[in-house]
Symmetry: C2
């Protein structure tokens, strides 16, 4: 996590959009047989490689199927031959990179001496949010709230191994959390059109919010007046305007993207003293960095399975040549038809 936060921070600071192609994600949203979403999130580092994440979002999964809300796989392709270099589960990586992105944003936008972290929505994403923030801030309290009893009951058990031993984990109402925290992470599966999660209320003047649950048209978590009082920093503006908290704002009320802000941090250092919101819709650039790091670690540690998925070892001009050597092929051919039924 520490290294991923560093790598993301560095990537944002040095990001040159002209070296990447990053088309908006596309997907299927449906309500039958259940409410769900499948999205593809592509990014190309020009002349280098492509990361393509296929994410599926089914909020009923934990209760219905014991599977996570987010299922995901991430592929890495080279642009030299199109070879699929690696394919990884993306559920863990998505949680990891979303947490790391919040840590990067919080270091830029929250007070360095922040001690109280509020978390609204205590599902899978909450775990890595707490983990990431706790790596960069000395937290004395984590205040949690979820409308789901089971998520509340198991939260402390899930995050205790990730925070310092003297960090207290408490449960409060969403309103109290908003009023008492230095940093907040909102990470709920609220339905489109059902927001906000809480009514607008007073906050500490320097509150920083990482809003990560808003990632679909109509789906927003925060009250509009709060956004309008604060500086709203999107991860990826075009996407945030369509799917994030920025949906609630007029274009001129939206702040710079996080990468722009990090490049101009001296000019924006005053932001640490005011209300700020990181509108984290989920950024393919983050997946790209996380996947690269995973592949490096796997290679170094010899972790992972080699899977024969591409038909790449036979005759490239014969789609029926499943990697047979010339001798085996001739033997089969002389014995009769190879494939023709």
């Amino acid at each position: 996590m520490d290294e991923l936060i560093d790598r993301l921070d560095n990537t944002f600071r040095t990001y040159q959009p002209e070296h990447y192609e990053l088309p908006p994600r596309g997907g299927f949203a449906y309500t039958t047989p259940v409410t769900g979403l499948l999205e593809w999130m592509p990014i190309m580092h020009a002349g280098n490689h492509i990361t393509l994440k296929i994410v599926r979002y089914h909020p009923a999964n934990p209760d219905r199927t014991e599977m996570p809300t987010i299922l995901c796989s991430i592929g890495s392709y080279n642009t030299d031959s199109g070879h699929l270099v690696g394919l990884a589960d993306g559920t863990f990586l998505t949680a990891l990179r979303t947490g790391a992105a919040s840590a990067v944003a919080s270091e830029a936008l929250a007070r360095p001496n922040a001690t109280v972290l509020g978390v609204i929505g205590l599902g899978a994403q909450a775990v890595s949010q707490v983990h990431a923030i706790s790596r960069r801030f000395t937290l004395t309290e984590v205040l949690g709230y979820d409308s789901d009893e089971l998520a509340m009951q198991t939260f402390a058990e899930r995050v205790a191994p990730l925070v310092a031993r003297d960090t207290e984990i408490k449960f409060q109402s969403a309103e109290t959390i908003v009023q008492s925290s230095d940093i907040i992470c909102t990470c709920t599966s609220i339905d489109a059109g059902a927001g906000p999660l809480f009514d607008d209320t007073t906050t500490k003047p320097w509150l920083h919010i990482n809003a990560i649950g808003s990632d679909f048209p109509g789906k927003t978590e925060l009250p509009r007046p709060l956004l309008e009082r604060g500086a709203v920093i999107p991860d990826f503006r075009e996407q945030a305007e369509r799917e994030g908290e920025c949906q609630q704002l007029s274009p001129d009320a939206i702040g710079p993207e996080l990468s722009t802000l990090l490049k101009q941090q001296v000019e924006h250092s005053g932001m640490r003293d005011r209300l700020t919101v990181f509108d984290s819709t989920g950024y393919a650039l983050e997946d790209h960095v996380a996947m690269d790091m995973l592949l490096e670690y796997c290679e170094d540690a010899g972790i992972g399975d080699m899977v024969q998925l591409e038909s790449s070892i036979g005759d490239p001009r014969n789609p029926y040549d499943f990697g047979l050597g010339r001798r085996e092929r001739q033997a089969l051919e002389s014995a009769g038809d190879l494939i023709a039924g």
Copy 2:
């Protein structure tokens, strides 16, 4: 192949667009480090399942890397939980379904007693084109041409096992092939802007062409006057207008889609006596049918590997729970931190 042709034919005849979502494919096209393309081709059978193909096209592969021009993987996802049900190499399936689609189109648009098949472009796709057409027509001659010597030299060896023993395989100029064939398949890797493959010339009045190489903006194979004389039937009109031979035509010169034509075959039976072109840009619906069939066959035959790719067996609310049982988890926790570094 026989069964896939039947299934595709049946799918086209019964296809109801309102039961599917079929967004245009998207992708990255690049010229560094080599000329290449990565595309995603999604299709959802609403309420049922999603097929998503990731195809990579690198025409220099056979010579540079001994890999096929087309590398491809196809995933099948249910919409009940988002589970990735199966993942398969798509190079073979793409060749298979592209061949099968040409067979379906040729049965609808060529004369039933066609005996001479011309093939321009003798790479991997040519093999399954010849295979598929030979399953539905009694071919006496296959006439081949490729600008690449190696493709010419190995063509007979690659297709001989797939055709009847008395089918003659000959090599001719592209012009002679166009003049002499009853059915033609064009399946080249011509560069965008470099078309046509041959100058317009006389043809048999009933010639049917399966144009499968045109699948990218600017990339076309056939001379425009020939298209304008014929009836041009796209697989998927919206895509063919952007990427297929239909790029060369005004909208009112484009015929019905193949599925529409098959539903109205009595009205269109006269097409068998005239010049026709199947503009086969590659249709996600075909991938969907081919992938479903593959998964059925694999399940019946017990073929394929089970791969643990999704983190689906631990606590769905804990992204760091890699499928440990409760007991193992408690043991680890009591021994110290589980993950926190």
